[in-house]
């Protein structure tokens, strides 16, 4: 479209040279693992590194061809996270690593597909209600056909021909598309016209209706399914996008108040919520029962110290769900504080680039979309990292791009594809 009017950039050297780092990390990490623990890492360690290198080069070439102006830092950051994740998952379980490689391949393929077949991000705006409907259908399907394959007590999975899929993952993206479209439509109304209730300027309530319904529905299904992590994530995305669209802090305060009241009610009503808070405040008294996971994760982090035990030399097997929710504890044990801080820094960079893209986006819809997608990644990483380090009560959720998990990996790559597309259509021509 308008790209043609701008001087075409035909090199993406920054991206290409930065991509060397994750490939190197993966190759050296797996080589080290095969030296340290031949029992875990048999065979040739460079297979995965070459596969990832191939995929990344294809992605790079496609971006060069179709979206040469897309952000050049995003893909290397994500590739680094994926490389760290692949090394850790291989160390934790070689069988899972093979499947994780398949998921990453599928994810990058879908990301490339997004870049190739979504010529104009603004097109998505017309599909806002479709995506909301699709989302609601997925939720409904989960209620009816929901399964709990790993006995986590959460029936949040759907099965398609032997492959389990977690709809709440793709729901995040659908929700962001819907919110971005809807909020962009109603932005002026939300911002400028306000009715008065008593002495207070309050938002125009009728326009908030669909939003509140959407929010209530997602909350209901998630609380109903006890998937607190996803509920918290959805609520935060909703609040963040509403705030950005309206520039009104009153939504945030109101939302926070609603959240606190809701949380307090849950605390009073549900014993499992009370227990969760209790375990959060003092996991040590429950070290052998409900607090086991948290305590073991903290002990793993502590035993890693500054530099870690070295890959393959720790005992992350003591932590339940270490390859998904608690993957940061395994990183902390074997790569130390150096490794965990690197992961945090990568997420900070990712979030920074994401918001940068939002700020530079050409349309308000793209801005809202990029904000929402970035918030999804940021909040999700924060919720599980902060939960593992006992800053907030623990909610089970994957660490984007690092944790083992097909739905999570695939969805996050689609999300990355969307972000890349938004950045390719930026309004001002900042060199990336």
């Amino acid at each position: 479209m308008n790209e043609l009017a701008l001087p075409a950039r035909r090199t993406r050297w920054t991206e290409l040279s930065l991509l060397v780092l994750p490939i190197l990390f993966l190759a050296l990490g797996l080589e080290l693992l095969s030296l340290n623990r031949p029992d875990l890492m048999g065979g040739w360690p460079f297979r995965e590194a070459i596969a990832l290198a191939g995929l990344l080069i294809i992605a790079h070439l496609v971006l060069l061809w179709r979206s040469p102006r897309a952000d050049q830092i995003l893909l290397p950051i994500v590739a680094m996270l994926v490389a760290i994740g692949l090394v850790v998952v291989t160390r934790l379980s070689p069988e899972l690593a093979l499947r994780q490689t398949v998921w990453i391949t599928l994810g990058i393929t879908l990301m490339i597909g997004t870049v190739l077949f979504l010529p104009n991000v603004a097109l998505l705006q017309s599909y806002k209600y479709s995506s909301a409907t699709l989302g609601l259908l997925l939720v409904a399907a989960t209620f009816v056909f929901g399964r709990d394959p790993n006995q986590s007590g959460v029936r949040s999975w759907l099965a398609f021909g032997g492959i389990n899929f977690q709809p709440s993952e793709i729901l995040k993206v659908l929700l962001v598309i819907f919110l971005a479209g809807y909020l962009e439509d109603k932005r002026e109304l939300l911002t400028w016209s306000s009715s008065r209730l008593g002495g207070l300027r309050v938002p125009p309530l009728p326009y908030l209706g669909p939003l509140v319904v959407m929010w209530a529905l997602s909350m209901l299904m998630l609380v109903g399914q006890r998937d607190v992590g996803a509920a918290l994530l959805f609520f935060c995305i909703f609040l963040a996008m509403l705030y950005v669209a309206s520039a009104r802090a009153v939504y945030v305060w109101g939302g926070l108040a609603a959240f606190l009241v809701g949380a307090y009610l849950c605390f009073l009503l549900f014993s499992h919520v009370r227990l969760r808070v209790e375990v959060w405040l003092d996991p040590w008294s429950h070290a052998q029962t409900q607090g086991y996971q948290v305590v073991q994760a903290l002990v793993a982090l502590a035993s890693g110290g500054i530099l870690g035990s070295g890959i393959g030399f720790g005992y992350p097997g003591y932590i339940p769900a270490v390859e998904t929710d608690f993957v940061i504890a395994a990183i902390g044990e074997e790569m130390g504080l150096a490794g965990t801080l690197a992961v945090v820094a990568l997420f900070m960079l990712l979030v920074y680039r994401g918001f940068r893209i939002a700020l530079d986006a050409r349309h308000d819809f793209s801005t809202l979309l990029a904000t929402g997608l970035t918030t999804v990644l940021g909040i999700q990483a924060f919720v599980i990292l902060a939960g593992t380090t006992k800053l907030i009560p623990l909610t089970g959720i994957t660490l984007p791009f690092i944790s083992y998990g097909g739905s999570s990996i695939v969805t996050n790559f689609i999300l990355l594809g969307l972000l890349l597309r938004v950045s390719a259509e930026r309004g001002n021509d900042n060199a990336a």
């Binding site: 705030y243 950005v244 669209a245 502590a302 110290g305 902390g332 945090v344 979030v351 924060f382 380090t389």
Partner: protein, 486 residues
């Protein structure tokens, strides 16, 4: 929108900053608390990865070693009769014996070069412990174990010149192999097979303690060993009667005879009379006796020599020891009289009595006992080598020579005759310690050989077995014979 996006970005970035601080808190600030706290199973896992060092006897025979198996590292013990010396080590039940007291070396925590420890950790080399070279002689240990038979008790044999422990038997012993399966039975066993009687057991010594009383009297210069006196009367101390029953039909005796025939009356008088010169022994002690007024001086000397011989304090040793004790520090006349011939409140360990015997054998110097002569790392570097040393000069060399005369007489013509070895002069003293009414006495023997230049000193105790001459003394002879290579 720009402003609120910037704010949102700021909030998220600050949140990640908080996560970074949280990680730093757990991984750096609180790391030690958590790693060494109760919830860390890694310490046990790391423990299981350590290839502990071997324990070798004096001749290099392996007594304990660790082996890598597909099921993990297994510790083997080749000679269960040394179980109470080597001890055991178990993930579940902790450790004992040398496995416990030399754990730092056996685990490899101590390296020839402290930098090696760091290098090993950095390179994740498996930790290999150092080997303990013992003074224990497996052959002698076997002889001593056989001499104990099925009786409960202990035998300690050591080289009086150096303090090197040559054999240390405590029966019943246990098999430290496959300990977990036997633990409950071993712990409940009333015979206490997990308990090292040789170093920790405390027994009434009976007449073997006369070695201490006699040494005191001789070293204080109160006794003329060649002086003859009559000794036939019983002794009554504050109404307590001590029977004169041990002399086999002789009435004209010397102090040497009274030691050889283990005369309780003479030794009660010796204890009570340690504060008086000359020593008031024999039937012609004036009436009222000198100790009637005050035993302060006698008591002081008695306690002084008991301490010089090592009582009232744990012995310096490679294994934990129980402190032998006199009992009350303010002994009454009756208590002092009884203690002087080894009854009263006295409690002594077999190691203590072996050292008392070794002191006499070593010219009055008490050698410091030891089991571990050398510690070598896996490359053969010597980490520690024991230099024999002396605990203290208990009595003068002249007094020790006099004591030797007493001990030799005891074997040549006294109750310790069963300790005699043809062609070798042996010193010894028997004991039949009365423990409780209706129970057999503890059978004791202490001795050394050859008397002119001793190379082995022993202490034998068999619990509730009977007279010392009949049981412990022949057992002691067997051990000394084996030690002398006969």
């Amino acid at each position: 929108m720009q402003r609120s996006i910037r704010r949102l970005a700021a909030i998220l970035l600050v949140s990640f900053g908080a996560v970074a601080l949280g990680l730093t808190y757990w991984q750096a600030v609180r790391a030690n608390d958590l790693v060494y706290g109760p919830n860390n199973a890694r310490l046990i896992e790391e423990e299981k990865q350590i290839l502990r060092g071997r324990i070798l006897d004096a001749g290099g025979r392996v007594l304990a070693y660790s082996e890598r198996t597909p099921q993990g590292i297994v510790r083997h013990y080749t000679d269960p009769s040394t179980a109470l010396v080597t001890g055991y080590t178990s993930d579940r039940y902790g450790s004992s014996g040398l496995e416990s007291s030399f754990a730092r070396y056996l685990r490899g925590d101590v390296q020839a070069n402290p930098l090696d420890t760091l290098a090993n950790q950095a390179l994740h080399r498996p930790q290999v412990g150092a080997d303990l070279q013992l003074t224990l002689d497996s052959h002698l240990q076997a002889v001593a174990t056989q001499a104990m038979g099925s009786d409960k008790g202990a035998i300690v044999a050591l080289d009086p010149r150096t303090g090197a422990v040559l054999a240390m038997v405590s029966t019943p012993h246990f098999d430290p192999n496959n300990l977990e399966a036997q633990w409950d039975r071993l712990e409940k066993d009333p015979a206490k097979p997990l308990y090292n009687r040789a170093t920790l057991g405390l027994y009434t010594p009976g007449s073997v303690f006369k070695i201490v009383t006699a040494s005191a009297a001789i070293d204080l210069g109160l006794v003329d060993l060649d002086k003859h006196y009559r000794c036939t009367d019983d002794l009554t101390v504050d109404g307590f009667v001590i029977k004169n029953k041990n002399h086999p039909g002789i009435s004209d005796v010397t102090f040497v005879d009274d030691f050889a025939y283990s005369c309780n009356v003479t030794f009660a008088k010796t204890g009570l009379g340690l504060g008086f010169n000359p020593l008031p022994v024999g039937d012609d002690v004036p009436n009222p006796a000198p100790w009637t007024n005050s035993i302060d001086e006698s008591r002081r000397h008695f306690l002084d020599y008991a301490r010089r011989f090592g009582l009232e304090a744990p012995l310096p040793f490679d294994l934990p020891t129980s402190a032998s004790r006199v009992g009350s520090q303010n002994l009454s006349r009756v208590e002092l009289a009884n203690s002087a011939f080894g009854q009263g409140q006295l409690l002594v360990s077999p190691l203590q009595m072996a050292l008392a015997s070794a002191t006499v054998a070593n010219g009055g110097k008490m050698p410091e006992p030891y089991l571990v002569s050398e510690i070598r790392d896996q490359y053969g570097n010597i980490l520690q080598r024991h230099t024999p040393s002396t605990v203290r000069q208990v009595m003068s060399p002249e007094s020790a020579r006099s004591m030797n005369r007493l001990m030799v007489a005891s074997v040549q013509e006294g109750y310790a005759k069963p300790a005699a070895i043809p062609g070798v002069q042996v010193g010894g003293k028997t004991g039949s310690a009365e423990v409780a009414a209706g129970e057999k006495t503890h059978s004791w023997f202490i001795g050394y050989a050859p008397a002119d230049d001793p190379t082995v000193a022993v202490a034998v105790i068999m619990e509730n077995k009977g007279p010392g001459s009949d049981f412990a003394t022949p057992a002691g002879r067997k051990v000394m014979e084996a030690a002398l290579g006969r």
